[in-house]
Symmetry: C2
Subunit: 151 residues, 2 copies
DNA sequence: GATGAAAACACACCGTA
DNA sequence: TACGGTGTGTTTTCATC
């Protein structure tokens, strides 16, 4: 586990919100020089605190107006098929996230589609036919808010 | 809705995976000059295809080893208190994502905690006491895979 | 697509505690 | 040893042609 001081925490929170901020700009905000800030960021990367930098796409603007969360329970107790299911579901283009979870369901999927008819197609022809798929529960996304998190 | 050509799609997919790639490097991969690539990226941003660039933090390395998905159903006449609930839940530091959904639950929350005792504290003292909170269902995250998505 | 100025990055070296 | 500052070459960004 990585030890962080107060400045590290502020850096991570600031960059988690907007990773376009330059080391120089961040340094000015926190009273550090550009190289000092840059070294801190590099140290955090090397320590593994940072997994990567990603573009967040606007799915709606790109024609994917429907996002659905699916809870999937696998059929039989033979959980040798866990990996098979995971591999098969990961190959479906419309699936954005595959979460293996413990609880009422075995997997949680985030699925996008152009519209509801398109989602029905994905559900019936791709998801329901997966090896081992049993019960499926669906929640349609209305709105979403991502927060900075603890730290 | 934004129209994309094949190169735009490849740019977005590449940057969604790793936003550290420079316009020059992407241009070389796709056979475009650095300024041409840079202009495409800017055009995609201005068109709204890109919501932003974010750092992905390694919650586990930062001491948050437990991630739990909660499905929350509001109490019977809780519909007037949707906003109240949303505001209150967004103020809990351990809550990373608040999704307002349609279906069996009203909200889906992504919650992180240092360990299971810590999660129990969050659940009992912060979540269960929220205004309007009714049924709560939990799934503990075992592993997660984020995929590029359709396009 | 090419060129070039401005900005940001990335590193070396030095100072302090 | 650990951290920050200064100085500087390199790379990237971004505007103009």
């Amino acid at each position: 586990m990585i030890e962080l001081d107060e400045i590290d925490r502020r850096i991570l929170l600031a960059l988690a919100r907007d990773a376009t901020q330059s080391a120089g700009a961040l340094g000015r905000r926190f009273g550090l020089s550009q190289p000092a800030m840059w070294r801190r960021i590099r140290r955090l990367q090397e320590a593994g605190a940072i997994k990567g930098r990603r573009l967040r796409l606007n799915a709606e603007a790109l024609g994917f107006g429907v996002t659905v969360f699916l809870g999937v329970k696998l059929g039989r107790k033979g959980r040798a098929s866990l990996s098979d299911f995971e591999r098969a579901v990961s190959a479906i283009p419309e699936v954005q996230t595959v979460e293996h979870v413990l609880g009422l369901y075995d997997f949680r999927l985030r699925v996008v589609a152009r519209d509801l008819p398109d989602f029905e197609r994905v559900l019936r022809r791709r998801i329901m036919t997966l090896p081992g798929a049993g019960e499926v529960e669906a929640n349609v996304l209305l709105s979403e808010e991502r927060l900075p998190g603890p730290l």
